[in-house]
Amino acid sequence: MSEQITYPDVVALAVPMFIAAILIELAWIGIKHRGGRYETRDALTSLVMGAGNVASGIVLGFITWGVFMALWAITPLDLGTSLWVVLLCFVLDDLRYYWVHRFGHRIRWVWASHVNHHSSQHYNLTTALRQTWTGTFTFMMVVRAPLILLGFHPAMVLFVGGLNLIYQFWIHTEAIGRMPRWFEAVMNTPSHHRVHHGRNARYLDANYAGVFIIWDKLFGTYVPELDEEKPQYGIVHNLGTFNPLRVAFHEWIALFRDVLRPGLSLRQRLAYAFAPPGWSHDGSREMTPEIKARHLATHPEDRGTPGFD
């Protein structure tokens, strides 16, 4: 069994490219006066969140690695390290990403970690780097377990996960309109991902793809970007702070405050932790279906159009 396998830390190696691409996007916007917006504190918050994500990976990475190596020790399967195996691993890991990402929007426990990626009202390449510090605590690493049990080495699984993250960097931009039709049909693109970051009722809970948009088309979560409805970026109630600590932990604090409210049943406490974001025991908050229904009540002409099917 291949135990001593190493792959490059592609995310760390990509850091110079991230910085260069941000400067190029900024220059493009400055010269063309279109293609996105930047704001100093917003961008700094995103960049600090990105640095914190790398730091949390260094500090907490041993937990994920330990779980993966324990799984590797018990599986009798070893697919080896050929290029075809790496490619297959990349595709299957992207399917894994789709589901983890979907859980990240539909299960509050996971949303508490992922929400910070959506907390900017801007959509530029720094937004791509606004990543979680608390991903380890969602325990979503278990969704990778089948890959390792199938015989993909843990180092390979983490390697393709890094490639997936790097792919997603460039799609966080308004500087690119649409890619060629064949590319838009198969791959996740800036247009598809702008929809995902939209807080418009139409665009909520759509386009979870990492690399291949086909997963959204396959599982019924695909919504195209409409020229007549530009995405508004951010979350339903946008943050009133740029403090990275508050950005990183605000939803965890809200979650635990709700779970520990006096007078709730066990079922209600569990629902505050694991039901979709916006669930409340007294119906005082809105989840995505209620937000969409309220929109349709005032805009009935949108019924049956993308995002309101």
Binding site: V15, Y38, V54, N238, G240, F242, H250
Partner: protein, 130 residues
């Protein structure tokens, strides 16, 4: 990549981009063009409690909003805005600044530059029951 290289590169990248953005004039706060602009920003954030009236502060960066759920506030978050209902807010005046503390981890304290005459108007509105 060794940490001795990655760390300084990340630090320099963050500081450099921050300085560049500031020098490009991208640190200016959002301004409302008129009360209707502030009302639209509020309605976008709280469509279930539409704005009945908006009172802009002197420099047009923030507005006090009258709603059926009590007073609310829209204020600049960089080039954009944030909005909150002001239930449970504690209001203090410090010189030319009105400080609003909210029981909200995502918007704990809002400082608004308000001249003396604006502060009195805002306090009156804030202390009027919905």
């Amino acid at each position: 990549m060794p940490l001795e290289i990655l760390g300084p590169m990340v630090l320099l990248g963050i500081v450099g981009i921050g300085v560049l953005l500031h020098l490009m004039g991208l640190s200016a706060p959002h301004h409302f063009a008129c009360p209707d602009d502030a009302r639209a920003a509020w309605d976008n954030a709280f469509p279930q409690h539409p704005a009945r009236r908006a009172t802009l502060c002197a420099d047009n960066t923030a507005a006090l909003i009258d709603t059926d759920a009590g007073p609310g506030l829209v204020w600049p978050m960089g080039a954009d805005v944030a909005a909150r209902l002001l239930a449970g807010a504690q209001i203090e005046a410090h010189g030319e600044t009105l400080s609003i503390r909210l029981p909200d981890f995502t918007a704990p304290r809002i400082r608004l530059p308000l001249p003396q005459e604006d502060r009195a108007t805002w306090r009156d509105i804030l202390e009027t029951p919905a």
